[in-house]
Amino acid sequence: NAGVTQTPKFRVLKTGQSMTLLCAQDMNHEYMYWYRQDPGMGLRLIHYSVGEGTTAKGEVPDGYNVSRLKKQNFLLGLESAAPSQTSVYFCASSYQGQSNQPQHFGDGTRLSIL
C-alpha cells in the first residue's frame, strides 16, 4: 500500500530553471494539497485541489503553479526557480476537505535552488 508517493526525493536547481514535482496517491482521495516546510515556519499551504480538474490557492501560492488532470496525480510546477523556493515540499491527500478527515502525507521532496 503506497499511500502518497512524491517524485523526486531530492533535486538541485539553478536559479531560473524550471521543474515539476509529482505527487501520486492510490487511496482514491478527492482532495490533494501541496505544502512547503521551512525551519520554524511549520508547513504552509501552497495550492490545493478539491477534485480532478480543480485547483485553488493556499497561503503562499506565488511562484508556483499546479495541475490536477487525473484524480490520483497532483503536479507542482516552478516556472523560474528562485533561491527563496529552497525548501522541503510535502504533498498530502484526504478523502474529503472537512477538517475531521486527517491528511495523509508523502515523504517529501528536498529542493535546493542555487
Binding site: 515556519m41 511549520g42 510535502f90 472537512q98 477538517s99 486527517p102 495523509h104 502525507f105 515523504d107 517529501g108
Partner: protein
C-alpha cells in the same frame, strides 16, 4: 503573522515521564485542532484531534486538552517512550474548511 504558534522549539524528557507540548492560536474562528508527528525524512502522520465542543480527547498514551478561552491546546504523552522522539506539529482549521494552518513544530527528545 502566525495564527498558530508553538513557542517551544524543543523539549527533552526522561523515558517514563510525562511530555507536555503546547500550542497557542489567535484566530477565534478555528474550531478543529489536530496534532501531527514527524520523523526525519518522513512525512507528518496524524496523531490525534479535538473539536471545539470538547475540552479533552484521549487515545492511549496521548491526550489533547483544549482551553478555548485561552486559545491554547496541549498534547500530553504519558508515559513517554524513546520512540516518541520526533517533531510534533499542531494544526488548526475552521470546521468544514479546506485548509489547515500549522504551527512551527516542537522537537521532542525522550532520553532512555
Amino acid at each position: 503573522d502566525q495564527q498558530v504558534k508553538q513557542n517551544s522549539p524543543s523539549l527533552s524528557v526522561q523515558e517514563g515521564r510525562i511530555s507536555i507540548l503546547n500550542c497557542d492560536y489567535t484566530n477565534s474562528m478555528f474550531d478543529y485542532f489536530l496534532w501531527y508527528k514527524k520523523y526525519p525524512a518522513e512525512g507528518p502522520t496524524f496523531l490525534i484531534s479535538i473539536s471545539s465542543i470538547k475540552d479533552k480527547n484521549e487515545d492511549g498514551r496521548f491526550t489533547v486538552f483544549l482551553n478555548k478561552s485561552a486559545k491554547h491546546l496541549s498534547l500530553h504523552i504519558v508515559p513517554s517512550q524513546p520512540g516518541d522522539s520526533a517533531v510534533y506539529f499542531c494544526a488548526a482549521s475552521v470546521w468544514g474548511g479546506n485548509m489547515l494552518t500549522f504551527g512551527g513544530g516542537t522537537r521532542l527528545m525522550v532520553k532512555p
